[in-house]
């Protein structure tokens, strides 16, 4: 089980929860579990291809994570907007 931390607006789409405990062996699996539990999040972090959106950063503990990053029990996942989308 991993601990997923969200900021607004994602936390609002997850029923106001800023922290969730979700099951999954990889980042992608945990994010899919998040979508199943809170369907309003669908399409906001992962795109249709199953990729993390270009200007979203996912950190696993202190390191930048990718879709296939393996997770251990009690890993902490932070999902937050990157600074690279700021020009928009």
């Amino acid at each position: 089980m991993a601990v997923v931390r969200l900021r607004a607006p994602l936390s609002e789409l997850a029923g106001g929860r800023r922290e969730l405990v979700l099951d999954g062996a990889t980042v992608s699996e945990v994010l899919r579990a998040l979508e199943r539990e809170h369907p309003d999040v669908t399409g906001w972090i992962l795109d249709e291809r199953g990729r993390i959106r270009e200007h979203i950063n996912v950190f696993v503990n202190r390191e930048r994570g990718r879709e296939d990053t393996a997770l251990a029990a009690e890993d902490r996942i932070h999902v937050l907007p990157s600074i690279s989308g700021g020009d928009q």
């Binding site: 399409g43 795109d47 249709e48």
Partner: protein, 356 residues
């Protein structure tokens, strides 16, 4: 009272005001996010907006009150597990059946809603169109930006895409065919023009009073079709336009010989020519164009008006026309372009303007 929906680089602005004076901001939504396009469906009263967050991707939102809560529409996405992701929704258009709406987006995709915009489905025949792998995007992406419905007949549609030309359907979108005869892609080598699919339509509108007629602003060229979009005639050369490059276009629905464009200097210099802001009007189907600039900036004004940033309301001599620029200015006319006033200034760069 006139209400405008102005999509900007930093959110949606609803403006309200009387002709001839500055408009008030009655609502702002999606603060900080690029709002590409917004309309109010006159049949339901529902507002629909396309928003392309740099972080969270393209969405369509709906509401009955632009100052209130917006709800994300469902189904605005490409098939899961494929190689492509939706990049942007460029336009939303009311269809010719109750509750029917269309949305066009990048990469060259058409969505349909049959419940007034709450849920959407990808038009699969167009998505699975043979040869799609060879389609080339324009500078703004592969944007399906123009959807021309046929008054009273939901089976007939015309699409304009940058840069994949015109597509026509006579069966409500079940099958599609090209309608590109006569379009000249001056930006490709002469020997390649006849066979090229890289046809960069910038805007296309049907004349409702004569629906077999369409007008088009091309990437270098202004055209008219009198045969439902099958073939196109050049109406931008030696007809009085300072340039045949530009983006937006509208027609007077009462007059099938009318069209309005806003020329920019050239594709390599996308500003109003000679520092003067002028809308050009034809009332003879493009035989001639006349500058309409009374009240618009006449000097030191190098504005860029994007493809969805021009709209009209009503028809005839009292037709309202409104447009916005990337400078953040919005201009209006309540006499079909004869005179103009400034409706707003210092907004974020304007992506789209629609009159409610």
């Amino acid at each position: 009272m006139t209400e405008l929906l102005v999509g900007t680089k930093k959110g949606l602005f609803a403006l309200q005001g009387e002709s001839g004076a500055s408009f008030e901001i009655s609502a702002r939504a999606f603060a900080g996010e690029p709002c590409e396009f917004a309309i109010r469906d006159p049949r339901s009263g529902r507002y629909l907006a396309s928003v392309t967050s740099a972080f969270y991707g393209p969405k369509v939102f709906v509401t009955d009150d632009p100052a209130g809560e917006w709800q994300e529409a469902e189904g605005v996405a490409l098939p899961e597990g494929g190689d492509a992701a939706l990049k942007r929704i460029w336009t939303i258009v009311s269809g010719e059946e109750d509750g029917l709406l269309y949305a066009g987006g990048d990469p060259g995709v058409l969505f349909e809603s049959r419940d007034g915009g709450l849920t959407w489905e990808l038009n699969r025949p167009f998505w699975e169109q043979e040869g799609r792998a060879d389609w080339q995007p324009g500078a703004g992406g592969m944007c399906l930006h123009s959807i021309a419905t046929w008054p009273g007949d939901p089976s007939r549609l015309a699409l304009g895409i940058s840069a994949v030309g015109v597509w026509l359907s006579d069966d409500g979108g079940a099958t599609w065919r090209h309608g590109n005869d006569g379009l000249v892609a001056r930006y490709v080598p002469e020997e390649s023009r006849e066979d090229t699919l890289a046809l960069c339509v910038h805007n296309m509108h049907r004349a409702p009073a004569r629906p077999e007629r369409l007008f088009m602003q091309f990437h270098g060229g202004v055209y008219r079709s009198d045969d439902t979009g099958e073939t196109w005639t050049d109406i931008g050369t030696d007809t009085g336009l300072p340039s045949d490059f530009g983006f937006p276009l509208v027609v007077d629905p009462e007059d099938p010989d009318s069209a309005y464009v806003i020329p920019l200097t050239a594709d390599m210099d996308r500003v109003t020519p000679d520092g003067r802001v002028r809308v050009y009007e034809t009332r003879d189907a493009g035989v001639s164009w006349t500058a309409r600039g009374d009240g618009l900036p006449a000097e030191n004004a190098y504005l860029t008006i994007l493809r969805q940033a021009l709209d009209r309301a009503g028809s005839g001599p009292g037709m309202g026309i409104y447009f916005g620029a990337t400078s953040g200015d919005v201009f209006g006319s309540d006499d079909a372009g004869a005179t103009w006033f400034t409706a707003a200034t210092r907004l974020p760069p304007v992506h789209s303007v629609r009159v409610v």
